[in-house]
């Protein structure tokens, strides 16, 4: 209980730019501003072809709305700070890393291999140590999915070192 109170107090004493409410609001406003600037680069339609409003007007309005609403939630969070979120565990970052590995492997080596690698990686780091189960999630199940999509749905997977063997 004391630890929780200390943690809450510690968060209160944090500089404003370390608080979640500031970080979240800042990221939303930052990205929205970049997108808003992008809307000024959209082509302008000559009046004769224009349908009601310019193509940039609607997204501009939306982005201004998002920025305005974000400023309101930030203002409200000063009065009523957000609940302090627990630190993200290692397994979250490893799962995120596995997504990155998936993207790289699927692009460079093989789509099917990328699924297998991610499955075994995630399953292992989430606590599975039994070899049979690891084989089940990383080899047997992806093969079933592959065959299902390939034969029943008629899907052709992108070329890669393993899929090429199958297709050849």
């Amino acid at each position: 209980m004391n630890n929780v109170q200390n943690k809450k107090r510690a968060n209160k004493s944090l500089p404003f730019f370390f608080k979640d409410e500031f970080k979240v609001s800042f990221i939303i406003i930052f990205i929205s501003t970049i997108l808003l600037i992008t809307t000024f680069t959209f082509d302008i339609v000559p009046p004769i072809l224009n349908r009601g409003i310019q193509p940039a007007t609607f997204p501009k309005g939306l982005l201004i709305l998002i920025i305005g609403l974000t400023l309101i939630i930030y203002y409200l969070s000063i009065k009523k700070p957000w609940k302090v979120e627990k630190k993200l565990p290692k397994t979250f970052f490893l799962t995120l890393l596995s997504f990155l590995i998936f993207v790289i492997v699927s692009k460079t080596l093989d789509f099917f291999l990328a699924i297998s690698l991610l499955s075994v990686f995630v399953s292992y780091y989430w606590g599975e140590r039994r070899i049979l189960y690891l084989i089940l999630v990383s080899v047997i199940f992806p093969i079933i999915v592959f065959i299902f999509f390939e034969t029943i749905l008629g899907l052709r997977f992108p070329p890669g070192i393993i899929t090429n063997i199958y297709y050849n």
């Binding site: 709305l65 609403l69 565990p89 397994t91 989430w126 599975e128 199940f141 999915v145 992108p158």
Partner: protein, 492 residues
Amino acid sequence: MDNLLLMLAPLFSSKLMLVLFFGTLFGLILGVLPGLGPTTGGALILPFTMTLDPLSAIVLLTSIYCAGTYGGAITAILINTPGTPAAAATCLDGYPLAQKGEAGRALGMATVSSTVGGIFSVIILVFFAPLLAKLAYEFGQPEYFALAIFGLTMLASIGDGSPIKNLIAGAFGILISTIGKDFMTSIDRFTYGINELSEGIGFIPVVVGLFAISEMLTQSTLLNQVFKRVALKAVKLPSLNDYKLTWKTILRSSGIGSFIGVLPAEGGTVASLIGYSEAKRFSKKPEDFGKGSIEGIAGAEAANNAATGGAMVPTLALGIPGSATTAVILTGLIIHGVRPGPDLFREQPEFLYGIFGAMLIANVLFFIFGFFGAKIFARITLVPNKILWPMIFAVSVCGTYSLSQSIIDVWIMLLFGVIGFFMRRYGFSVVPVIIGLILGELVEGTLRQSLVIFDGNWLMFLARPIALTFFILSLIALAFPLLRSKKRKKIL
């Protein structure tokens, strides 16, 4: 009479009955597994529906919706974790009753009240959807614009989340719909020279990313959770005394659930909370609530299943999703080339009444499956996440890839998975993003066409009575969460 025959058509089609059987079974499994549920499950199954004809595809999705909503109760009662968000209120009394050794009685009541609520709502759907569709004949572009705005402002009152955060999420969803070539002038927007983005961002990668992948990331943070399952011998049908005690509650909650479901963007979660609190308010023994009250289970379960039929009313009659899962069903309709709205009622009654009939049958099927198979379904909750989620990932990736055979779609799915995770972490619901994405084209298209009609005069919107009514309702929808929180503070 003709319509009744059309409703019974699925019974005479072996293909549709097979689809219904598998849809109900799959829906139950999804509902039982915490973190999955009919919305994520529907999103996962969407690519597979491309191999089916439109009616079979929508029948599959609706049966998943009905059964999945009920399935959440099994987990809520046996392991005190709602299988679906709509079953959260069921935990309050279902688990305490199960702990008293009456898990079978609790599940029996949940099964019966869910079935009654579901069937009641289908009857509402059959009568109300055509009426609403008839009304929609009067709608022009300005009215549709005002209606879409009303649907979006209803997002403010979704669940317990912050209304402003919900609105930001809704606006974000609409913004995503503007990516790609402008559908009126073919001018590129937010494409940054990437050809694949010219076509816009598809529904499937966003839906699968926001629901399945973000849930996978959430599960990666909850690995230390240990679920304790209460032992279950068999599901028991409620006794005569239980029926006497709950029949009014079941009917009241069925009405509440159907009404809440009809409101755009609201769904089973809101319905079950209101159904539960009303059951408590009218109960002769309100002090038993939270300690294993059979009325509490009936109130919550009848309401959340009644919301399924209710939510289909605006989805089919107007093309405005009534809940998160109907947003997925609406996506299914769109990718199968079916445009919901009044014309659908006039041109394809056999399609619509086929769906109504299928929903009715799905409610009967999940009663049978639930009654005889709850014990087996309860075992599914024991499948460890470390096995389950890598498998769901494989299906998500292949399903997303299969639609346009584009690896970019898979990356978009992963990106939205990460966005969805952080949105949920900081209190932004992901449901408004999907609804915004679906309504985006309607909002922008009708706004621009209305402005052409009005010669650029925005004030002309107020000269249209139906549009004005929707704008007033929108203001009320925006003010409602504020009033609700004030009332809550007063109660506390």
